[in-house]
């Protein structure tokens, strides 16, 4: 290298060398002369993070109301409930006969109520759901429950979405939209929400009255019931089709938000395709865990009904249990009374991400929310992975 270069910083070059020698004493002096005031343990941003995203929240159930024959509203109260974005869910932690399970439920109340320490959940009793049955039998006024912080990405984002949202709801899929409608009323959100609410009969249209009340006072909210099993004057009849969507959407650009059971997604999804919308204008909430994996394309037919050995490493412990090919690895872990981390149970959020040490799993493509490098290095989301052989996994400590 050319050494001819001779840098002159100041007129007198010798001072530069002196400055170098002073680097250490200068730094020492800076330290010594600084005040000895205490270091803030939780600065503002960390405090805000703890408020917005608590890992756990504890509530008392303070009110139980029947919304329909099969849907019940629970009021959760606490000193503080994390603020959230209308459309988000919380994951409820349950202990059913020693099985630690979780279920995600959309928060149906307005974010405003969270400031007063309240959330509302609207839970529909599933036909063969042992968790909802447990909830209906056990959650009473005074019951203490634990939940996650608010989670999920099913909310309005003005930088991304059209000013008008066509909300397509089925069953208890109405709950996030009920939260959005109230958020609009309360001045927290600002968009036009036109709800196409699919129900079997008018009696089953939970929250319809409450939504009508909001629509009366706020022109941005509109509610249309689409009844499949009954014909009633003033109500749409049949299923939610492309034509109905077009009719209510009008001529302005719109985004479709969809929340409901898997069967609705299957049917309405095809109808939405007919509309030729850009992908960015169609969003859907996750539908919860996959119940009939054997019906999914690509699930090996000869795997139905198979039982495998599942070895679970967690912290220092190793547990061996049995796993069914048609139940997710997460369910097998919960059956073994091991606490596994989980939130969305649909493969998306990655909370249950675990290391697959050996074995093969089946993952429904739609629910493979894994990162590329996770696939490369052998990680799976156990909530959306189904055993196809004996498995050895390592799950994170909760």
């Amino acid at each position: 290298m050319d050494k001819k270069l001779n840098v002159k910083i100041k007129p007198i070059g010798l001072l530069d060398l002196l400055a170098f020698k002073k680097l250490v004493p200068n730094r020492k002096k800076k330290f010594e002369e600084a005040p000895a005031t205490e270091i803030k343990k939780t600065p503002p941003m960390n405090e805000l993070a703890a408020k917005l995203h608590p890992k756990h929240q504890k509530f008392m159930i303070t009110k139980v109301t029947d919304l329909t024959d099969s849907m019940r509203q629970f009021e959760l109260s606490s000193d503080s409930a994390a603020y959230f974005r209308a459309g988000q869910y919380i994951s409820v932690k349950l202990d059913i006969d020693g099985h630690k399970v979780t279920r995600p439920y959309s928060i149906m109340s307005s974010p405003k109520e969270a400031l007063a320490g309240k959330y509302m959940l609207g839970i529909k009793k599933a036909d063969d759901g042992f968790v909802t049955e447990y909830i209906f039998n056990n959650w009473k006024e005074g019951t203490a429950i634990e939940t996650s912080g608010p989670e999920g990405n099913f909310y309005y984002e003005d930088i991304r979405d059209a000013k008008t949202v066509i909300g397509i709801a089925g069953g208890c899929g109405i709950t996030p939209f009920f939260s959005m409608a109230q958020a609009i009323r309360d001045g927290i959100e600002d968009f036009n929400l036109c709800l196409l609410y699919g129900c079997k009969t008018l009696d089953e249209s939970a929250l319809k009255k409450e939504l009508d009340e909001i629509a009366k006072t706020d022109s941005r909210v509109k509610v249309v019931c689409v009844l499949s099993n009954e014909e009633k004057e003033g109500y749409e009849h049949g299923f939610i089709t492309a034509d109905i969507i077009k009719e209510y959407a009008g001529t302005e650009p719109y985004s479709i938000f969809m929340c409901g059971p898997q069967v609705m997604y299957d049917f309405v999804g095809k109808e939405i395709n007919k509309l030729g919308l850009e992908k960015k204008f169609v969003r859907r909430e996750l539908y919860g865990q996959i119940n009939n994996v054997e019906k999914h394309e690509g699930f090996p037919k000869d795997q139905v009904g198979k039982k495998y050995k599942l070895t679970i490493h967690i912290g220092l412990k190793t547990i061996t249990t049995e796993a069914l090919s048609t139940e997710s690895v997460l369910v097998a872990v919960e059956r073994a009374k091991v606490i596994a981390p989980s939130l969305c149970r649909t493969g998306e959020c990655g909370c249950c991400r675990s290391r697959l040490i050996s074995g093969d799993v089946f993952i429904v493509e739609d629910t493979d929310g894994r990162r590329m490098a996770d696939k490369k290095f052998g990680y799976i989301h156990i909530c959306s992975s189904f055993p196809l052989s004996d498995l050895e996994i390592e799950i994170p400590v909760v």
């Binding site: 330290f31 600084a34 270091i39 991304r160 992908k279 960015k280 912290g315």
Partner: protein
Amino acid sequence: MSERTYDVVVIGAGNGGLAAAATTAQKGMKTLLIEQHTLPGGYASSFVRGRFEFEPSLHELCDVGKEGEWGACGTFFKDLGLDIEWVPVPEAYRMVITDKNEKFDVTMPFGLKEYIDKMEEYVPNSRESVTNFFDLCQEVLDAIGYLGASKGNPDKKVLTSKYSNFLKTASYSVDQVEKALKIPKKARDILNAYWCYLGTDTGKLGFTIYGAMMIKFLLLGAYIPKMRSHEISLAFEKAIRDFGGDVIYGTKVEKILVENGSVVGIKTDKGEKINTKHVICNAPRHVAFGSMVEGADEIKEKANREFNARKVGGKGYVAYFGLNKTAKELGLTDYSYFIYPTVDNKKLYSSMFERGKNPMQAIVCLNNAIPDCSPPGTSMLTVTTLYKDGAWDDVNETNYVQAKNDIAKDIVKNIESALNIKISDAIEEFSVASPETFARYACAYDGSIYGYESETWDSLLPRLLMMKDDLYINGLRFAGGFAFRCHGYSSGYMSGNTIGLLTYKDSLEDK
């Protein structure tokens, strides 16, 4: 509960922690890496929204190099056998100044000769002074290599004979050195583009650290991993396990236990006590001394003073856009953009203290390095800016979303006008990592994504020279952005490597 014993416990699986744990495990030390989050990497990670997988933080990694000319990081990774697919970044940067009077738009290439040639094109008669600048940078790089190898104990004779220019410039800022070399004003403005990667204006930023970074970028180019920085983190994790180390997630170290001035163990939030004589801490020094160290009250005052003398680096703000058009369709022709309202980075630095000022934007369009990083017909754009100190203090639960989204809207407008393109109608996915987000996932102190500011008095060199003085407790060393190498990806990894080696050396004296 039975107590476990390890040769070394590494607290935090950020870049520094991963690199340190891999180093000690490779050296045969029984290593335990503990991370509070469920993922390794800290900011070196990835996240999925819809059909896009975003890179949270890495713009480009310098010091990787390629077969035949590995840089320090590249050599370290290769030595560990990390399985990472590296993709070269096409150009150094495009710098766009939007101020009416200062307006310019330049694109600078990698390669020393190419860079100097291009500079001559933009700024006639800059060749000689810019060449001198890079000669000096090269000497700085060599000198730092020598200082690193001497582990804070350099031979003064070697320094004065071989690295005299380095010695002369070591206590000066970037601006002072550039002015002394008589580099034309516009050339200085272009040379200073990377200042935001270090987050201190060039009037205060130590020249050595900037010079070393610049020359590494230009000589070796920059690289990014094919599968986002999550790929690097997982490759490290695999190496740690392969070398016999243990990794536990979802567990927070609450206390570093000290007896008679030496580390004796740690305690986790699960109540477990783990015995060890060596702790490598990836958390900042002031967090360790301020709330983790137990049994060494005598160092508290010293630690407080040290922290109060320093400035915590910029708070991160990153907006991620998944776009439903290709980069070409949108007119996003480059990989790395710096869009600054003015060349005056002192002014930009002071604007970081106020939210809503939108001080500057460092932008990456990943598709221009990895065309298939997002599905066909789409592209991804990531925009980073920085804030300081109290800029976010008025943000609470209820105005949080608006606070972060207002900035994003402003950013979109700025990009559209600076580059004369339209992206606002192509946004399919959108997400923001605010200072709160960095605090949430990585426990970033007040949302800072950098370490202590590398001002001249506290830059790489004085820290290197005072490595021994900075050891407050036997067996407790620090790696990562707040440690001696200052911040940035490559510094994080290399600090972990050095500290891992030093800890190994310490451990040889245990018996």
